[in-house]
Amino acid sequence: MSITSTSPDRRPDLRPTGSGRWADPLFRAIALAAGVSVLLVLGLMIGSTARDAWPVFEYQGFVSFFTSSEWNAGSSRGEFTGVYGAFAFIYGTLVSSAIAIAIALPLALAISLYINRIAPRRFRQALSYTVELLAAIPSVVYGLWGLLFFSPVVLQPISRVLIGTFGNVPLIGWLFEGPARNVNYFIAGNVLAIMILPIITAIAREVMAQTPEDQIQAAYGMGATDWEVMRRVIVKRSFPGIVGATMLGLGRALGETIAVAMLIGGQQRWGASLFFSGQSMAGHIASTFQDAAPETVDALIAVGVGLFVITVIVNVLARLLVWRIGRVAGDAAL
């Protein structure tokens, strides 16, 4: 037994050097700093906006800010002279998002089930890519397309039919009061539905795909039809994930800015009809920011803080629901 002492042919750049003693902790510290910077940015975000919004809440009153629907921008530099009630915008945000969810959720479930259970296997990947392409299209392109094509050509005729059919029905007639202008809650809601469809679909599809094949085959073995398997096994089992996916979609719809600003109407009031041309929180910030006096900018930041709180609550709940199932790879890119 002879001991060979030839050292292996090592790459010189992998050989530890003296500097390694401090390089390792240094590298770790840099990586840690980068990781913490995410929290830092989030903290700064909350801190600096809250600081600017606070005087507005104090001036207008916290409750009044969120429940009054009178918004009268002041033009002062150092003090508050306007009236800032954001309810009309909160209402617009909620209504347009509700319309979006009402349309996108059933469609997303249909697509997810179709891709998972009905589509020929070799088309599945291509179909999910196609739906996810909707998420890649920039918001401003949706706005342009909605404003100059989708609303006048497709949605206006539908609106007229809806108004004509339901406008005089007792109890729900007030929701369908016309006439519908080219931009209103309904138009914004429909375009939002298209925008959040890929988000809900991507997560619902992945969650559904995790259904154990055993359970599906067991259900078929008991004589269940395709539809019964989908409804009673797949959808039932994926329910928390679907709720989480819907809330992620809702979060996106609530915060969506440019497309909504272009499509929701622009009046700083609210109306009960789905076809009222109102304004959303994000849309109001984007539309009036440019001409706003310093005091009004503070009020807009306050509106933004309100919007941030709502979307963060929705997002945290959604993440908690989706996280229980496991993070879905790639959904950040949507």
Partner: protein
Amino acid sequence: MSDTLIQTDRPRVSLREVDAHTRRRRGRSSLARILLSLGMVVAIVPLALILAEVTRRGLPALDWEFLTQIQPGARRDGGGYVHGIIGSAYMVGFATLVSVPVGILAAIYLTEYGRGWLPRIIRFFTDVMTGVPSVFVGLFIYALLVRGAFGFGAIVGAAGLAVLMLPIIVRSSEEMLKLVPEDQRAASIGLGARKWQTIMRVVLPSAAPGLVTGAMLAVARAAGETAVLLLTALGSLQVVSQLQGTPIASLTLLIYRGARQPFPAGQQRAWAGALLLMLIVLVLTLAARFVTARWGNRR
């Protein structure tokens, strides 16, 4: 087997024959299949409509002049979005330079060093940050930087875009670093490499295609972003080369303003801008998908 236990008036039926209840269930199932397929079609229609309409209206105006000239008055024909293209390139470029290294380093922390409660918190809030409305990010940069000392301009616009890109890059990079086999790290350590050497020379090169993918998706997102820039870059009618202090245009801002004015010439330019923007974003997205697919298969 003629002596059946239960005497019925009905003739014996074969197992293949089904009763009314089962028929109803099967009917419902077929109907559901048809409806779900219809849902799929309904979802594809908007995509087709957008691609077709933007191409149809944008293509005639998307010419050399559009790429090299600035916009004349809104009513006048011709001209282009060169000031927006330059502005977008500026801001997306700077945002990428900042957010990609920081994001990848943060992802390295999460995958290579992350133990205990801090990484879990970072991970969770990164996910939450992907859902923060972009207009709020704009307000944040405005409150912190624009109003403070810097004024409107390219650098603050880039800062806003970087904040939007950061969580996307952290999340996607983390997923990609997780795919690097543990064996490769062990082999590197076994050869005597230090941890930082392992990460820089083994883990990162191995995950490089995936990291590029994540960065491309983030760039695509930033290129299409409008709300943040509305509050930080503000927009301009001229070519701006200063980094900071002067409001600067972006492709998206020009589309936003062009779409909202009533003159056909301006709207025409907005369609051309939308087509250009969509091409950039779709190419980035599809390239990212392609790289992931190729790379994923190899693993």
